[in-house]
C-alpha cells in the first residue's frame, strides 16, 4: 500500500539529510586534496545566503521552470518513498530535469544554452540505465511498486549485479561528479561559466540547490532498493557507494560529452542488458 507518512517524512527530512551529505562531500573532498575544507554545515550557509541575495530575473518564465523543477523532484522522491510505482517515479524525475533544461533555454544566454544542451545529453545518457534498473527489479520481484519491492525477501543485488554496476555509473552523472559533470558541477569546479545554472541567481539558485539535495537523497534511496532484504547491508552499501563517488570525483578529469554518452550506453548495454538477458535465460532454472 502507499504510505503517505513516509512521503511527508521525506519532504521534511530530505533537505537536511541532502545538505548534510553535501557538507560531508565537501569536507571529504577537501581532505582528499590535503586541505582543511569548509565547515560541515557550509551548504546550509550557502543556501541561506542565496535567499538573502538580490534576484536578477533574466526572463520571468525562469521562475516557473525552476519552481517546476523543484516541485517535480520533490514529487518523484515523495512518490518513491511512499512506495509508489517505480515507472511513475522515473517519469516525474525525468520531467523535472526537462524543466531545468527549459529554464536554462529560456534565458537567451550562450553559456546557459551550452549547459542546457549538455544537460539534455546527460539525460539521454543516463535514462536507459535507470529504466533498465526498474525493469530488472520487475523481472525479479514481478512488481513495479516500491513498497512491494521493499517487502520482497529477494536479495535483488544477487540477481542484478550488472544492473547495479550500471546504476553506479549513472549515479556519477546524476550526482554531478567528475568525470561526468558536463552540464554544471559542484562547489569550486567551473564548467563553461556555470552551465545550466549560469543565469539563475540568488533565491532561484537556492531552489536549484535544494532540488539537488532532494534528488541525491532519492538516488541513494534507489541504491537501498537493491539491498532492501537487509537494512544494515543497504545502509553500508549507500555509504560505500557515496564515498566511492567522491573518490571518483577527485580522481578523474572531466570527460567529453561524446565519451560520456558512449560509455554510459555501452555500460548500460554490457552490464544492464546482458544482466537482464541472463536473468531471462535462467528464469526456468533459478526461482525468480
Amino acid at each position: 500500500m502507499i504510505l503517505v507518512e513516509y512521503a511527508v517524512i521525506f519532504i521534511i527530512l530530505a533537505p537536511f539529510i541532502g545538505g548534510l551529505l553535501a557538507g560531508i562531500d565537501r569536507k571529504l573532498t577537501a581532505r582528499m586534496q590535503g586541505r582543511v575544507g569548509p565547515p560541515l554545515l557550509q551548504p546550509f550557509y550557502d543556501v541561506g545566503k542565496l535567499f538573502k541575495k538580490e534576484q536578477i530575473v533574466v526572463t520571468p518564465s525562469q521562475h516557473f521552470y525552476v519552481l517546476s523543477y523543484l516541485v517535480f523532484i520533490v514529487a518523484s522522491g515523495a512518490l518513491f518513498f511512499a512506495g509508489g510505482d517505480l515507472l511513475l517515479v522515473i517519469f516525474a524525475f525525468t520531467l523535472a530535469h526537462i524543466f531545468l533544461v527549459l529554464g536554462a533555454y529560456s534565458s537567451y544566454s550562450p553559456y546557459s544554452f551550452i549547459g542546457a544542451e549538455r544537460e539534455l545529453i546527460q539525460i539521454i545518457a543516463y535514462e536507459p540505465m535507470i529504466i533498465l534498473a526498474a525493469v530488472g527489479m520487475y523481472m525479479v520481484t514481478k512488481t513495479f511498486f516500491v513498497w512491494e519491492i521493499m517487502a520482497s525477501s529477494m536479495p535483488l543485488i544477487l540477481y542484478l549485479p550488472g544492473v547495479f554496476l550500471g546504476f553506479l555509473m549513472v549515479l556519477t552523472i546524476k550526482l554531478r561528479k567528475s568525470p561526468f559533470d558536463l552540464s554544471t558541477s559542484h562547489h569550486a569546479h567551473q564548467e563553461i561559466v556555470k552551465g545550466v545554472t549560469t543565469e539563475f541567481s540568488g533565491p532561484m539558485l537556492a531552489r536549484v540547490e535544494i532540488a539537488h539535495w532532494y534528488e541525491n537523497v532519492f538516488l541513494l534511496g534507489f541504491i537501498y532498493l537493491f539491498f532492501a532484504w537487509n537494512p544494515l547491508v543497504g545502509i553500508i552499501a549507500i555509504i560505500i557507494a557515496y564515498v566511492l563517488e567522491i573518490l571518483i570525483d577527485n580522481t578523474f578529469s572531466r570527460a567529453t560529452w561524446k565519451f560520456t554518452l558512449k560509455s554510459a550506453w555501452i555500460i548500460a548495454g554490457m552490464m544492464g542488458l546482458v544482466n537482464l538477458g541472463v536473468l531471462y535465460y535462467l528464469s526456468g532454472v533459478v526461482p525468480v
Binding site: 577537501a30 582543511v36 569548509p38 550557502d46 538580490e54 562547489h187 569550486a188 539558485l205
Partner: protein, 151 residues
C-alpha cells in the same frame, strides 16, 4: 555573523595585471592557505558572486568589461582591489592605454596593497570585505542601474 559572510563566493577578474597578483590569488585556493575553510569559493560567474576580486589596473579595452561584470553581480556585493596596480594604477599608471585604478570605474570597498600582494594580505582584505558585505546587507538596495548605464 550571518550566512552572508559565511559563504562569500568570489569572482576573480584580471584587468591588466602582470599575473603576479593573479598567481597569489590562486595560491589562496591551494592546500597551504585553503580559503574554502571560510566558505570562500572561486566562481566563474558574476551572477553567483558576492565579492569581485580585481587584479591590475583598468585599461581602455576592459573598462566596459569591468563595469559589466560589476553590474551583473546581485546585491549586496563588495569589490576588492588586489595589488598596487588595481589600487592606483601602480607602475603602469603613466602608460598610454591605462586609465588608472579600479576605483575610477566602479566603487572599491577594500584596497589590498603590495606588488605582488601576499596571499596573507589578500585573505585579510577579503575577510575585511566580508564585514562591509554585512553592513551593505542592512542598507537599502541602491537599485539596479538602467540598461547600458552611463559611459
Amino acid at each position: 555573523m550571518t550566512h552572508l559572510s559565511k559563504s562569500p563566493w568570489i569572482l576573480h577578474y584580471d584587468a591588466s595585471s602582470c599575473n603576479g597578483c593573479d598567481i597569489e590569488v590562486l595560491a589562496c585556493l591551494s592546500p597551504l592557505y585553503d580559503v574554502e575553510r571560510f566558505g570562500i569559493i572561486n566562481t566563474g560567474n558574476p551572477k553567483h558572486a558576492d565579492v569581485l576580486v580585481i587584479t591590475g589596473g583598468i585599461n581602455e579595452q576592459n573598462r566596459e568589461v569591468v563595469r559589466n561584470l560589476y553590474e551583473q553581480m546581485p546585491d549586496p556585493k563588495v569589490v576588492v582591489a588586489v595589488g598596487i596596480c588595481a589600487s592606483t594604477g601602480g607602475v603602469f599608471r603613466e602608460c598610454y592605454n591605462v586609465v588608472g585604478g579600479i576605483d575610477c570605474i566602479i566603487p572599491v570597498d577594500v584596497y589590498v596593497p603590495g606588488c605582488a600582494a601576499r596571499p596573507e594580505s589578500i585573505i585579510d582584505g577579503i575577510v575585511r570585505a566580508l564585514s562591509i558585505l554585512e553592513e551593505k546587507k542592512n542598507m537599502p538596495a541602491p537599485g539596479r542601474a538602467t540598461q547600458g548605464g552611463e559611459k
